[in-house]
């Protein structure tokens, strides 16, 4: 693995302007958001294991600083898109635990009315464009968000997240070339948790330096970030996001992070391709939430009591979302046929001409 983090000494990014401008409340907010994501994920895992939901569940536990740190830099015209490990981004962008949990339960009150599931959360009103299930498939879509910004002459940035497993997909490389060629305002954020499912980075990718460095082949800027340090995530992501907004230039940032659980909860070998010692090392030394908490305690911004209070509130919120999801109704069978065509949903003239659906 190319780790910016590991155990090497790090610069202190607390002094960067984008971090100096944070108030005590802002810092606590970041702690709260990371804590909420973790508690939501733990609650969803618990319920998944009880067999109340279907499909896959790709947990974000261990990676919370990436979504929370980058989303905290959101500007007015910024857009966000990611792959299937999408709960963290959704919550960070302001989607409620209720709608997210209900979606896992396949209920009509879910963010996608129970039609998308865990991998397909969306909230365009919050700048969140999914939630995409195919590895790397979202990378051209993110490019399109950047294209839309530039076409409409809006100053903004498209944040397109992908895992380290996606960097070998062709669509991603086509997107990098187009991003640089058309000078589009996009930041590709590689959330490098070290494993594409059960295959380590060493066994899946050929590269010089780090994965982000492939940007040089496309004449694009890149950076490597230690994901366990929220200050660093913000400081470095901000540079790339400002490059997009102000210069309409793309970047790749690779954020070294770690997932504590398997690729998904269906990953039968989650504890075989990594040693327990490796997982424990991350939990102990690199957990982004514990490190941030300690930082804020050291700064005198946070107290043990306040931290506990935030954690308890997150647990309660997650528990309440389970209750909400359980009490919600599932979609009706009739609802299966809604949301296929815009024209049909809006009962337009066009929707009345010819046969659109072929149910016998």
């Amino acid at each position: 693995m190319s780790l910016a983090s590991a155990d090497s000494p790090q610069l202190d990014f607390a002094g960067s302007p984008v971090n100096q401008s944070l108030s005590a409340d802002d810092k606590i907010h970041l702690f709260r958001e990371m804590t909420r994501i973790r508690r939501f994920e733990q609650a969803s895992l618990k319920m998944y294991n009880k067999g109340v939901m279907g499909g896959f569940l790709h947990l974000y536990i261990g990676q919370e600083s990436v979504a929370v740190g980058t989303v905290s830099l959101r500007g007015k015209n910024d857009h966000f898109i990611t792959a299937y490990r999408d709960h963290g981004h959704a919550l960070a962008l302001g989607m409620s635990m209720n709608e997210c949990m209900a979606e896992l339960y396949g209920k009509a009150t879910g963010c996608s009315k129970g039609k998308g599931g865990s991998m397909h959360y969306f909230a365009p009103d919050k700048g969140f464009w999914g939630g995409h299930g195919i590895v790397g498939g979202q990378t051209p879509l993110g490019l399109g968000l950047a294209y839309g910004l530039k076409y409409k002459e809006l100053e903004g940035c498209a944040m397109c997240y992908l895992g380290d497993g996606a960097v070998n997909q062709g669509a991603y490389h086509e997107s990098l070339n187009l991003a640089a060629l058309f000078e589009l305002p996009i930041v590709y954020v590689i959330e490098n948790n070290g494993y594409s499912m059960g295959t380590s980075q060493k066994r899946s990718s050929s590269f010089r330096g780090c994965l982000a460095q492939r940007a040089e082949g496309y004449d694009m800027e890149w950076d490597l970030v230690d994901g366990s340090d929220l200050y660093q995530v913000r400081a470095k992501a901000n540079i790339a996001m400002e490059r997009a907004r102000k210069e309409s230039k793309p970047s790749i940032i690779e954020i070294a992070t770690y997932r504590y659980y398997g690729h998904s909860v269906a990953d039968a070998n989650a504890k075989k391709y990594r040693t327990p010692a490796e997982i424990e090392k991350y939990k102990k030394n690199h957990d982004p939430i514990r490190l941030w908490e300690q930082r804020l305690l050291d700064e005198g911004v946070l107290t043990e009591e306040k931290s506990k209070e935030i954690d308890n509130a997150a647990k309660e919120e997650a528990a309440a979302s389970i209750e909400f999801a359980e009490k919600s109704d599932p979609p009706t069978v009739e609802a299966i046929m809604d949301d296929v065509y815009w024209e049909s949903d809006h009962n337009t003239e066009a929707s009345k001409i010819g046969r659109h659906f072929f149910n016998d």
């Binding site: 879509l141 669509a171 070339n177 010819g354 016998d360």
Partner: protein, 328 residues
């Protein structure tokens, strides 16, 4: 007053008018701008509209089609050219998982107002990789709309409807039709828009119905002439024009009128458009049939290169006449 126009110029006129009507319409694809289009469909549009509205892309179908889909989610209305529809295979994830499914998976929060257009046909001796005919394939994905115009007027009218539609529409053209000529209404007579989902009787007849789309319609018209003049058989020719939505009523109406149907389809027989049409006829007009439904489809092998025999692999007037006479 209508004018005679080439099919390629009719499409160009549609693009030109829609570029003028809506500032969010942008045409993109390989060689569409500075090269003036691989088939000269977009000739002159770059000079007129400039680099913002006419965009040359690198050879990256997955990349630029996905980019167009993403941009459409923000309200841009990209009209994307595939130099050959055969190249759909390298962009399939974008064309299906993203364009067709994102609205559904978001519970209706997003729509994808894109057009993907280009030629989808055999008959040009370019071998199997460049001769795919995927209208039936894409029509099988709910969320997508597909049309295949046979005449210049329909090409213009359907293109305009496709661009204005708020769902993804895949327009299947034909390299062998680009140089064909036909009447197209003059813009001074008003906006010429042909709605999706409306078939057109291209020739009236009473003895049997030839049902087709795309270039096969021209073959049907030629076959109908022969059947009338040499065999005294009066064939009606129904042009589907739009595959999904599909004008089921028009299909049933012609079958109820003639009581016999021969389906002509450049797709292969297995799962082709005609397979669906055949099913609908047997389900809804079974009692009107005086004979089994028969089909003329592309012979069921990958497209052959050889100029000596490729034409025999495809539907053509001779095969249609033979099929009609065999089943008479």
């Amino acid at each position: 007053m209508s004018r005679k126009m080439l099919y390629r110029h009719a499409i160009r006129e549609a693009l030109d008018e829609e570029l003028a009507r809506d500032e969010n319409v942008v045409v993109m694809g390989e060689e569409v701008a500075q090269y003036n289009g691989a088939y000269k469909v977009t000739e002159g549009l770059w000079e007129k509209w400039g680099c913002k509205r006419m965009v040359d892309t690198p050879i990256s179908e997955a990349g630029f089609i996905g980019m167009g889909i993403g941009a459409s989610m923000l309200g841009v209305r990209p009209v994307m050219e595939l130099m050959f529809w055969s190249f759909h295979s390298v962009a399939f994830d974008q064309l299906v998982n993203n364009a067709a499914c994102v609205r559904y998976m978001s519970g209706g929060l997003i729509n994808v107002p894109i057009v993907v257009r280009g030629p989808a046909n055999g008959g040009t001796n370019v071998g199997a990789t460049h001769s795919h005919i995927p209208e039936g394939l894409f029509a099988a994905f709910p969320g997508l709309k597909v049309c295949a115009p046979a005449t210049p007027a329909d090409a213009k009218g359907l293109m305009k409807a496709a661009i204005r539609d708020n769902d993804p529409v895949y327009v299947m053209e034909n390299t062998l039709l680009y140089g064909t000529e036909g009447e197209v209404p003059d813009p001074s007579e008003g906006d010429h828009v042909v709605p999706l989902g409306k078939a057109d009787v291209k020739r009236e007849g009473s003895d049997l119905s030839l049902i087709a789309h795309g270039r096969s319609v021209l073959h049907c018209l030629a076959a109908a002439e022969t059947l009338q003049s040499e065999h005294g058989i009066s064939a009606e020719v129904l042009d589907l024009r739009s595959i999904r939505p599909l004008d089921q009523e028009a299909i049933l109406e012609t079958v109820r009128k003639t009581n016999r149907a021969v389906l002509v389809d450049e797709s292969k027989g297995f799962g082709g458009v005609s397979a669906m049409v055949s099913h609908l006829i047997q389900e809804h007009a079974f009692d009107y049939l005086d004979a089994p439904i028969t089909r003329v489809t592309t012979l069921d092998a990958p497209a052959i290169y050889s100029p000596h025999v490729e034409n025999d692999q495809l539907p053509n007037p001779k095969r249609i006449v033979e099929k009609v006479l065999q089943s008479s």
